[in-house]
């Protein structure tokens, strides 16, 4: 049953993504591309891009989007429920336990050890989005014709705007998009 599969896939995403936002991304990718083949890498990248531009957490946006693509609105419904249910159970339980015990030291140690792992997994997800944009053959190769120059330029400009000018990430991404539209309209071939 596709609804149960969607529910279960996103239940795992909800249950194992610690740290919010980007931290869910590697898990979402693992589930919907590697394990279930629901989206192609290109669709996934589009989804992340769309998620960045709309309000709402990446995990919930993904659940709704993938559910809709795979099994229509009921699919979106089951995927989204699956995605929030672990939070509801876990956080409600913790809120209750907090009132009783108020000692969270083991939780704090777990969190502290999770953070470095989460950083690395986000890094991997970022690299896997960036590399195919720059190297059309999919592998690292710096021979002429094997590197797309415009994405390299956008990336450098984006890093400059984000780090030096402290510009808003959504604005920076939209500017990269507009630059590519202009380039394709103006440069023939």
């Amino acid at each position: 049953m596709i609804y149960i599969k969607l529910f279960w896939a996103f239940f795992q995403i909800g249950a194992f993504s610690f740290g919010g936002g980007y931290a869910a991304m590697p898990l979402i990718k693992q589930q919907i591309i590697t394990n279930y083949h629901w989206l192609t890498m290109k669709d996934f990248t589009d989804l992340i891009t769309i998620s960045q531009m709309t309000p709402g957490p990446i995990a919930i946006n993904s659940a709704t989007f993938v559910g809709n693509q795979i099994a229509g609105i009921p699919g979106a419904f089951f995927a989204t429920i699956g995605c929030v249910l672990p939070s509801c159970l876990f956080v409600t339980f913790l809120s209750w336990a907090y009132n009783r015990y108020k000692n969270l030291s083991i939780l704090q140690d777990i969190l502290e050890s999770l953070r470095p792992a989460v950083v690395s997994m986000i890094a991997v997800a970022g690299i896997e989005i960036l590399l195919p944009a720059v190297f059309p053959s999919g592998s690292l190769s710096f021979l002429p014709g094997q590197v797309k120059l415009r994405p390299v330029l956008y990336f450098a400009a984006a890093i400059f705007l984000l780090r030096k000018k402290k510009k808003d990430p959504i604005l920076v991404m939209v500017l990269c998009g507009i630059a590519e539209v202009a380039a394709q309209l103006l440069i023939p071939g």
Binding site: F16, S17, G20, G21, M25, P26, L27, T45, Q52, P55, G56, P57, A59, I60, N61, T64, F65, N68, A76, C83, V84, P86, S87, C88, F90, V91, T92, L94, L104, I106, L107, Q108, D109, I110, L111, S113, L114, R115, P116, A117, V118, V119, S120, M121, A123, G126, I127, L130, A133, R150, P151, Y154, F155, A158, R163, P169, V172, G177, I178, E180
Partner: protein
């Protein structure tokens, strides 16, 4: 009165979830503004603890933040209203986008736009990684740096399942607690 609280919880999370760009941490701050500073329904110190719970739990921080506030103010019905309010906006927005996605995927302008934005998304993500990684390095704890390096190698070169990496890191944290407890007793 109870009905008024539930309505208020639902409308607040609905509103915040619709108009807040920039992720969970922003929503948590706004929840604090609303329920601590404006309505005075939760006191400052307790809100800090609730935020810690929201951040340390799995799942989206915006949803978790809604849950802790909902539970605190009105128990399980409060949780229900808060989650409903937090989830409806992204559900509706992404359903509409998904409906048009197949059509606009073929569109030349949108194709070019999304393709150009990929480099931007990559930059945004790596910039976040730089900040988060910097915070980890600043702690000057070799164990954390080893964990970070090992996770990267496992994920990037060996394609180890993400869930295993998370469980292994969590287990390291548990060992740390046990280790400290033992040392304190000795």
């Amino acid at each position: 009165m109870n009905k008024k609280i539930l309505t208020n919880i639902f409308l607040s999370t609905l509103y915040l979830s619709t108009f807040t760009f920039g992720g969970g941490y922003v929503i948590v701050t706004l929840l604090k503004k609303k329920f601590v500073d404006e309505l005075h329904w939760i006191d400052q110190q307790e809100m800090l603890d609730l935020v810690a719970i929201a951040q340390s739990s799995p799942g989206a921080i915006a949803v978790n933040g809604a849950i802790v506030v909902g539970y605190k103010l009105a128990g399980l019905p409060g949780v229900f209203c808060a989650v409903l309010g937090a989830v409806i906006p992204p559900f509706v927005i992404l359903t509409v986008i998904s409906f048009f996605y197949t059509a606009f995927k073929e569109n030349f302008i949108i194709q070019a736009m999304l393709s150009g934005m990929k480099a931007g998304v990559g930059a945004v993500i790596l910039s976040v990684v730089y900040d988060m990684g910097g915070d980890v390095v600043k702690e000057k704890d070799p164990l954390l740096i080893i964990l970070m390096t090992a996770s990267f190698i496992a994920a990037y070169f060996y394609h180890v399942n993400v869930i295993f990496i998370i469980l292994a890191a969590a287990l390291t944290g548990v060992c740390k607690t046990i280790n400290r407890k033992l040392r304190n007793e000795a």
